[in-house]
């Protein structure tokens, strides 16, 4: 009987220490979300301005046939940038991204395109190397706190491969979009070639002003587009970092909740076991005393 009691005590102790760890992880993640969100906010003005500038150039320059905007004829290969996290403990975060990437791969295949994965984040890299998939590029070590330099490095490789005759013909990005603390969605976006939308300008729309270019429209576009791609990748990395922490916070919260539930159940079982032990001891004593009393009565 004592054995069961001891066993339960030991389990409660171990679950309690696990709960302490997951609770700490949850708190760490919560404070990191705020920081990641602040970084996202700080990057917003640049992204907004650069998008405006690109819109300005593309809608002003009458003939936009920069290699980065024109879709190649007969595309054969597509680069897919998959943004995952470096560390685990974040629930379905990476699984969701990788599932969406697989779906995109199937979609591209049905269009006759080979998908070449470019992966950031240790989890995604491990996933791909375990399946012996060749990666066009891999980057690890910055999923929690991406710097602009990281995005630049990725963009350079992608653009280089995009410009190459035998390289990739399209660039897609699979990442997690941070909607709110509770909602994060996996999104698939095509970043290259840029989609030049011919929209009818409604009267309420502000018509972009007619720009003069220094030195020429083509030169401006030449240096503007890579910056635009970098900015898009940087935004994706930042959103993914915030989403990762949000996913981790949620995963750790449910782990802590589950641990507390286990502790409650175990404590109840332990109390029952202890009570059973006491009851048995009493009945043994009473039984023993009765037996002694009976024996004494028999002698007399």
């Amino acid at each position: 009987m004592g054995a069961q009691l001891r066993l339960l005590r030991r389990r409660i102790k171990s679950v309690k220490s696990t709960a302490k760890i997951t609770r700490a992880q949850e708190l760490i993640a919560s404070s990191r979300i705020v920081k990641a969100q602040m970084r996202m906010q700080a990057a917003l003005p640049y992204e907004r301005e650069i998008t405006r500038a690109v819109t300005g150039v593309v809608s002003n320059a009458s003939s936009v046939d920069h290699p980065l905007t024109v879709a190649k004829e007969n595309p054969t290969k597509a680069g897919v940038l998959i943004v995952t996290s470096d560390s685990g403990f974040c629930g379905g975060f990476n699984a969701n991204v990788l599932r969406e990437a697989e779906a995109l791969r199937g979609l591209l295949k049905s269009r006759g395109l080979d998908a070449i994965p470019f992966v950031t984040g240790r989890k995604g890299v491990t996933w791909h190397s375990f399946r012996n998939r060749t990666m066009g590029g891999q980057w690890v070590g910055f999923s929690r706190k991406p710097a602009y330099g990281d995005a630049k490095e990725i963009a350079e490789l992608l653009i280089e491969s995009f410009k190459d005759e035998n390289g990739i013909d399209e660039i897609h990005i699979v990442s997690t979009e941070f909607v709110s603390m509770l909602t994060q969605n996996v999104v698939v976006k095509r970043i290259l070639p840029l989609e030049v939308e011919e929209t009818e300008a409604s009267e309420s729309d502000v018509i972009p002003p007619y720009f003069e270019f220094e030195p020429t429209a083509a030169d401006v576009l030449e240096s503007l587009l890579p910056r635009y791609v970098e900015s898009r990748i940087f935004t994706a990395l930042l959103e993914s970092a915030a989403s990762e922490e949000a996913a981790r916070r949620r995963a750790m919260k449910s782990a802590t909740d589950n641990a507390n539930e286990l502790i409650r159940v175990f404590t109840m079982q332990m109390n029952q076991a202890r009570q059973a032990e006491i009851t048995q001891e009493i009945s043994e004593i009473v039984g023993g005393a009765n037996a002694l009393a009976d024996a004494a009565a028999g002698k007399e």
């Binding site: 970084r39 700080a42 990057a43 003005p45 640049y46 301005e49 650069i50 405006r52 500038a53 300005g56 150039v57 710097a147 602009y148 995005a151 972009p208 002003p209 007619y210 720009f211 003069e212 270019f213 220094e214 030195p215 030169d219 401006v220 240096s223 503007l224 910056r227 970098e230 900015s231 940087f234």
Partner: protein, 133 residues
């Protein structure tokens, strides 16, 4: 007189925003001065340039701007810099140090393009801080 609304942004943060009377930047074609009512312009900035924002009643705002763009439309000036630093934020000693190191590697290897850019950046940072180079 109308004022310019100026924003200096880098990918990682907004460096400065506010009103100004004149903005002087260095594009690959040469220096460009923007005053209110300027025609819309989109220019490519040089590596290691100095941006000067003239404000009435206050001192000039000077920043070292490395690469990027300037876009002007409707009295709104946005400077998109890959890397930018306000003159007041520049660590002069560190910039001098960087300049010396870059110049040393240029002397060792004339073809060193990275060092040349590094030297330009350091010079721009020093100029932005008001130091003589």
């Amino acid at each position: 007189m109308a004022k310019l609304r100026v924003g200096v942004v880098s990918p990682e943060r907004e460096i400065w925003s506010g009103e100004a009377d004149m903005v002087i930047a260095k594009t690959v074609d040469g220096e460009i001065g923007i005053m209110p009512q300027h025609a819309p312009v989109l220019g490519v900035l040089v590596e290691g340039g100095v941006l000067r924002v003239k404000r009435e009643g206050k001192g000039d705002l000077v920043a070292a701007v490395h690469g990027g763009f300037i876009s002007v439309a409707d009295d709104e000036v946005s400077v998109l810099a890959e890397v930018a630093e306000l003159g007041s934020e520049v660590d002069v000693a560190a910039a001098r140090d960087a300049l010396e190191r870059a110049q040393a590697s240029i002397e060792a290897d004339q073809e060193d393009a990275d060092a040349a850019i590094e030297a330009k950046r350091a010079k721009a940072r020093l100029r932005a801080a008001g130091e003589e180079v």
